[in-house]
């Protein structure tokens, strides 16, 4: 690659926004280049000429840079390598940094020599719909062919590659509120932000570029007889200094949602590349709640289509102006500009001033005299009534054809060849109405300007100003911006009056209206040679649109899906309107009758990292730790997640295997004393004279008879009669109860109680307060447990006479206020000691010092399963009634409660529902698989009759073998039968049906 020969000398232009004192080296496709601070990757590359840097999606034709910003369809690159690599970024939006590394996408083996170019020469057999017709149709074996060719087609059609390594960058998220959100920092946006800020509003101005200024960044405009960028700098100075104004640079608003909620992505560390300061996130996702929104999003220039209009060196007219004015880059010596409106004249003037030979073909028979004269005076050859009809050259522009265009759009006679190495095209302007479309507003066709304008969204609190609203001259942009900002502030309640600034612009004499023009060459003139593209990113040609019309895919939605028009990563920013206007011409309808597709968020692609934000790694989800967590962690605990809680699953001593640890813990509880951290159990404090009424209604059993100082087990059901929680509730005083819930359901049960108290039973005088976290709970269980707790310094009498099973006592333990429940989930004599949470670690240490063996949740599971005690969510799944579990004893016949009526339903009343049973594998060394399906005959021909499933299954050190709990159809009437439990892979294990209690069935141990 020769040097940056297309960089204009420093004196040629006044408006360069690059810093020539800060050269930056970078690499593209393995070659070394140099640009300047202030460049984009695209402008730095263009300084070396319009060489091919991409390949077309389908035909793999060489492609160059086409635009300057978000509209860029061609110049997609893979930025950086490894975990930071990002596919399909627009080179026009990548700020250059030193050491940047990028490469082409969709070219194999290289962008210079792409084997898939064969598709272009074979294109007669690849029209739109080719894949559907060939592979998806009803033809014999079509599906088989698709399977054979799919990998090849996918590879050929792909763009960049997703990175395989983890993303090393950090991403942030920010919630923000404002009176007025202004989207876009061009003249209209700055004007709107100033107007709103002057009224004292809280303003957020989001601009997607490296610096605000919008079209003024081209540097060839003036305001108040000074460079317009001076006005921009002054406006930014005021906004940055205002306390309640936030100017978000490099921030693209991605989506607009109900109630004026907007999302935006700010590039923070990204512009520094991999060498970004460590403390900076790469991107920040803004979630903005605005009272009012002003859309000053500008407009996208659109091309008209002509033969070979995808050749590198063919660019949008105004893009050429920006490269020259902003970046001092003009990628050619001889420029041909084709236009149908006024805007290309500024491009022509700038290029002529920069020393290029310029031919301007204006499709209008009578171009505005003032503009044409000024251009001619600057040496521009203005050809009225003419269009660019074709480009000559393959890998770059080598010439252009300019022909007279007749009123009906045909080219008159043979077009004239013009020497050219740069072709600019301006077919008019499309207001960037994407964000308005996000709010569900269908755009409105503006006949005079031949464009869609955003619908009036005032009622939604959204306004538009400047080019986004169809303004064509600078004065209108400033004026509309001011009015929109003022109105938004007023509507947001900021009534301070301000004076409108009077600004003088250089708009000059009145111009002339646009001559609508969508395509020349292929469609009208036929046979000029070469494809004429409508959608450069998805390789949709003028012919493809005509084919869709012929095959009756005439609705805009069908056009889009049939041809893939507008379905690229650029969402057809330069293609959509042209495509549907061409469809309108084919079918004899105006463009608005063809309609538009709906734009959906995001406006430009948003990296997944920005969406994931902070939700990754160790801080992905909240973690809840009990007061004794540090002890557990220091003593070999293996944790299990129960909801957000970290609970010790088992404690490994030394090199002990996990299974051995569980065995040891179970034996300790059965033979000596164990201690478990039960702090996570839900605890709800219930106060008031009507608590017993509430308990009677939400639990299935009777609570009238519970005395102060006693506790009772209860089952809670939903209205359908199915169990959703269980637990022990104790009566602490006449009108004061403490309810316990399962760990995972604590918040749900509190919500359930509040729901009934607030909506259905407001007359009940009950206050429910969560006290789960106020207490640390240590459960001491086992034959040695009484001896152990009796050794604690306490005023509680631990004897069985004074403190029987299912009693509750308050007192002090080791000087701390304590509530002690004598309840048992293990089947052994057991005390749950509750002390204030901050004292938990000290109590725990005292119990350990007293000789208790800590046990985890898995030992607890084994212990309770041996007793046949259920776990909600394990033995139940929302389809299980108390009767199914054999717990009819806990269901009152005397009173009403939530769920009771459902037991009269035939299905809940039938005697052969699935019942809780015990299973003992015939081979006692077997541990049946949890979730294993139960069948009578594993050899039965499918469909096999399924009878239920194993809900819990363990190896029991006490029973010296495997045992299980299961839900089995008609199980209670099948005691002693042999059933078979299917293994998860293949085969089945025979097991005997027994009662669901395996250990100390009369309960003597826990009452002892």
């Amino acid at each position: 690659m020769s040097g940056p020969q297309y960089r204009l000398p420093a004196h040629a232009l006044t408006g360069g926004r690059i810093d020539r004192d800060r050269p930056l080296g970078f690499s593209f496709n393995g070659e070394r280049f140099t640009g300047y601070a202030g460049d984009t990757l695209a402008s730095a590359l263009l300084a070396y000429g319009s060489f091919p840097l991409a390949r077309g999606f389908k035909y793999h034709r060489p492609r160059g840079i086409f635009g300057t910003g978000a509209e860029e369809p061609n110049a997609l690159v893979q930025l950086e390598t490894g975990g930071r690599s990002q596919p399909n970024l627009r080179a026009t939006q990548i700020e250059l940094y030193g050491g940047l590394t990028a490469s082409s996408v969709n070219a194999w083996p290289s962008v210079e020599f792409d084997l898939m170019r064969v598709n272009d020469w074979l294109s007669p057999i690849f029209p739109s719909g080719f894949y559907y017709k060939t592979f998806m149709g009803a033809g014999i074996g079509a599906g088989r062919w698709w399977r054979l060719f799919e990998p090849f087609i996918r590879r050929a059609a792909g763009f960049g590659r997703a990175p395989a390594a983890p993303d090393p960058d950090r991403y942030e998220r920010m919630n923000a509120h404002c009176d007025v959100l202004v989207v876009g920092g061009g003249p209209a946006g700055l004007s709107a932000a100033l107007a709103a800020a002057n009224r004292g509003s809280r303003v957020i101005l989001a601009d997607e570029q490296a610096e605000p200024g919008g079209d003024l960044l081209a540097g060839d405009r003036s305001i108040d007889d000074a460079p317009a960028m001076d006005w921009v700098a002054a406006a930014l100075g005021k906004l940055d200094a205002a306390p309640d104004v936030t100017v978000l640079r490099r921030t693209a608003v991605a989506g607009l949602y109900d109630d004026n909620f907007a999302t935006a992505v700010e590039s923070v560390g990204e512009r520094f590349g991999p060498g970004a300061p460590e403390h900076l996130p790469r991107l920040r996702l803004w979630r903005i709640r605005a009272r009012r929104i002003v859309l000053a999003t500008g407009a996208h220039e659109r091309p008209y289509a002509f033969a070979n209009n995808d050749t590198p060196g063919v660019m949008l007219g105004n893009a050429i102006r920006h490269y020259a004015g902003r970046y001092a880059v003009a990628p050619g010596r001889q420029a041909v500009l084709g236009t149908n409106n006024d805007s290309a004249y500024r491009t022509a003037l700038l290029l002529a001033q920069a020393g290029l030979a310029v031919t301007l073909a204006d499709a209008r028979e009578t171009p505005p005299a003032a503009l044409a004269d000024a251009a001619r005076n600057a040496g521009v050859a203005v050809e009225a009534g003419c269009v660019v009809s074709a480009v000559v050259g393959g890998r770059r522009v080598r010439g252009a054809k300019v022909g007279r265009v007749l009123p009906d759009g045909e080219i008159s006679g043979a077009p004239r060849a013009v020497e050219a190495d740069l072709v600019g095209v301006s077919g008019g302007w499309n207001p960037a109405l994407h964000l308005a479309s996000h709010r569900g507003a269908k755009p409105v066709w503006n006949e005079a300007q031949a464009c869609f304008a955003p619908a009036d969204l005032t009622a939604l609190g959204v306004g538009a100003a400047g080019a986004a609203a169809g303004a064509e001259i600078l004065a209108d942009c400033l004026e509309q911006g001011y009015a929109a900002g003022r109105d938004a502030a007023r509507a947001a309640g900021r009534t301070k009056r301000t004076r409108k600034p009077a600004l003088k612009t250089d708009d000059g004499a009145a111009g002339a209206p646009i001559r609508p023009l969508w395509a020349v060459a292929e469609r009208r003139s036929g046979g000029i040679g070469g494809k004429a593209f409508v959608d450069l990113q998805n390789d949709v040609t003028v012919k493809d649109v005509a084919l869709a019309a012929r095959e009756n895919y005439r609705s805009v939605e069908h056009l889009k899906r049939y041809t893939t028009l507008g379905m690229g990563t650029d969402q057809g920013k330069t293609a959509n309107v042209t495509g549907l206007a061409l469809m309108g011409m084919e079918t004899g309808r105006p463009p608005d009758a063809v309609g538009t597709t709906t734009f959906r968020p995001p406006y430009t692609p948003v990296p997944f990292g920005a969406l994931a934000g902070r939700d990754r790694g160790a801080l992905f989800d909240p973690v809840r730790e009990t007061p004794m967590f540090d002890w557990h962690e220091a003593n070999g605990a293996v944790f299990e997640d129960v909801g957000q809680w970290k609970r010790p699953y088992a404690y490994r001593r030394g090199g002990e295997a996990l299974e051995a640890a569980i065995d040891r813990e179970v034996r300790a509880v059965r033979n000596a004393a164990g201690v478990m951290d039960a702090s996570t159990l839900g605890k709800i404090d219930l106060k008031g004279p009507d608590v017993v009424t509430l308990l009677n209604r939400v639990y299935t059993n009777d609570w009238e008879t519970l005395k102060v100082g006693r506790a009772r087990y209860g089952l809670m059901c939903h209205e359908d009669g199915m169990i959703f929680d269980d637990g022990v509730t104790a009566r602490l005083a006449d009108d004061h109860y403490l309810m316990t819930t399962t760990t995972g359901n604590a918040a749900t049960v509190l919500g359930w109680l509040e729901m009934w108290l607030q909506t259905e039973w407001p007359e009940l005088r009950v206050f429910a307060t969560s006290v789960t976290e106020a207490y640390a709970t240590a459960t001491v269980a086992g034959p040695e447990a009484r001896r152990l707790v009796s050794g604690l310094d306490s005023d509680i009498d631990w004897s069985d006479e004074a403190f029987p099973h299912m009693a509750v006592r308050t007192g002090t333990v080791l000087g701390a206020p304590a509530r002690v429940f004598r309840v048992s989930f293990s089947g052994e004599a057991s005390w749950e000691i509750n002390v204030p949470a901050h004292c938990g670690p000290a109590l725990w240490q005292a119990l350990i010092d007293g000789g208790a063996t800590p046990y985890g949740t898995e030992a607890m599971h084994v212990l309770r399963a041996e007793k046949g005690f259920i776990i909600v969510g394990q033995e139940t799944d929302g389809t299980v009634t108390p009767h199914d579990l054999g717990m009819g004893w806990a269901v009152s016949k005397r009173k009403d409660f939530i769920g009771k009526r459902s037991y009269k339903r035939p299905d809940t009343a039938r005697p052969d529902r699935k019942h809780l049973v015990g299973l003992l594998p015939l081979d006692s060394s077997t541990v049946l698989p949890e979730g294993g399906q139960i069948v009578n005959d594993p050899a039965q021909e499918p469909p096999v009759t399924m009878l239920g499933h194993v809900t819990s299954s363990y190896k029991s050190p006490s029973l010296d073998g495997g045992f299980a709990l299961a839900l089995l159809k008609n199980g209670r009437n099948r005691m002693g039968d042999t059933v078979h439990v299917l293994r998860l892979d293949e085969g089945a294990d025979p097991a005997r049906v027994v009662a669901p209690a395996f250990y100390d069935r009369d309960g003597g141990r826990m009452r002892g």
């Binding site: 942030e172 998220r173 920010m174 919630n175 923000a176 509120h177 809280r202 309640d244 923070v268 403390h279 900076l280 996130p281 979630r287 709640r289 902070r614 160790a618 801080l619 989800d621 909240p622 973690v623 809840r624 730790e625 009990t626 007061p627 967590f629 957000q644 809680w645 404090d685 106060k687 008031g688 005083a733 009108d735 004061h736 206050f767 307060t769 969560s770 006290v771 789960t772 976290e773 106020a774 207490y775 640390a776 333990v813 080791l814 000087g815 701390a816 206020p817 002390v835 204030p836 949470a837 901050h838 004292c839 938990g840 670690p841 000290a842 109590l843």
Partner: protein, 205 residues
């Protein structure tokens, strides 16, 4: 509210986790683990009855919902129409109110150890909180005396601004079990601005 068993604060020094100072400006955000709280949950259907209940011992009248009032004896947060939390400066007041609340229209429950308070102060305090909180923390929308019970990401917190300081000082009440997660989260979120951590070092309630 223990008296003799040793008290453990989950945000006490030394806490394994983030470094105690980092970033471009270590004063941008200052995170302070407050001493253990003396905290009562107060429920009452009748605001006048609550005011009567609190008038003599506390000397504060109920604020509107999502506001807090304070004096030398305590801070009274109004979290819902019939729901208050009272942070007492000393245990005696709490014990007195608990006793008085055992019967009658006010339900008083000791929830001292269930919650901890973290101070988030400094010029970038708002920015750090705004990374997870959707409440508008601008001084105009969230003046001194504001107290919002809200979701902080997926953690329930009460964010309060008790004084009119600028740069602002926020008081974040978080459940004990979530305290370390929140602490680490806040430190991580403050990295880009810089922060100083002040873990609990004894004393207090």
């Amino acid at each position: 509210m223990a008296d003799s068993l040793a008290v453990t604060h989950p945000l006490a020094d030394p806490l394994s986790g983030p470094p105690e100072q980092t970033g471009p400006d270590s004063a941008a955000v200052v995170l302070t683990a407050e001493p253990p709280l003396v905290l009562l949950d107060l429920r009452c259907r009748d605001r006048a009855a609550l005011d009567g209940f609190l008038k003599k011992p506390l000397g504060l009248a109920s604020p509107p919902v999502a506001r807090a009032v304070s004096n030398a004896r305590g801070v009274l947060f109004r979290l819902g129409p019939d729901w208050w939390q009272l942070r007492c400066r000393d245990r005696k007041l709490a014990a007195r109110l608990l006793k008085a609340g055992a019967a009658g229209p006010v339900g008083a429950t000791d929830i001292s150890d269930a919650w901890l308070a973290v101070g988030v102060a400094g010029p970038r305090a708002r920015d750090v909180l705004a990374k997870a909180a959707t409440v508008d923390l601008h001084p105009e929308a969230f003046p001194a005396g504001s107290a919002a019970r809200t979701l902080f990401g997926r953690v329930t917190v009460v964010i309060a601004r008790l004084a009119d300081d600028e740069p602002p000082a926020f008081d974040v009440t978080v459940s004990r079990s979530n305290a370390r997660f929140l602490w680490r989260w806040l430190a991580d979120a403050a990295r880009e601005y810089g922060y100083t951590l002040k873990p609990f070092s004894g004393g207090g309630a």
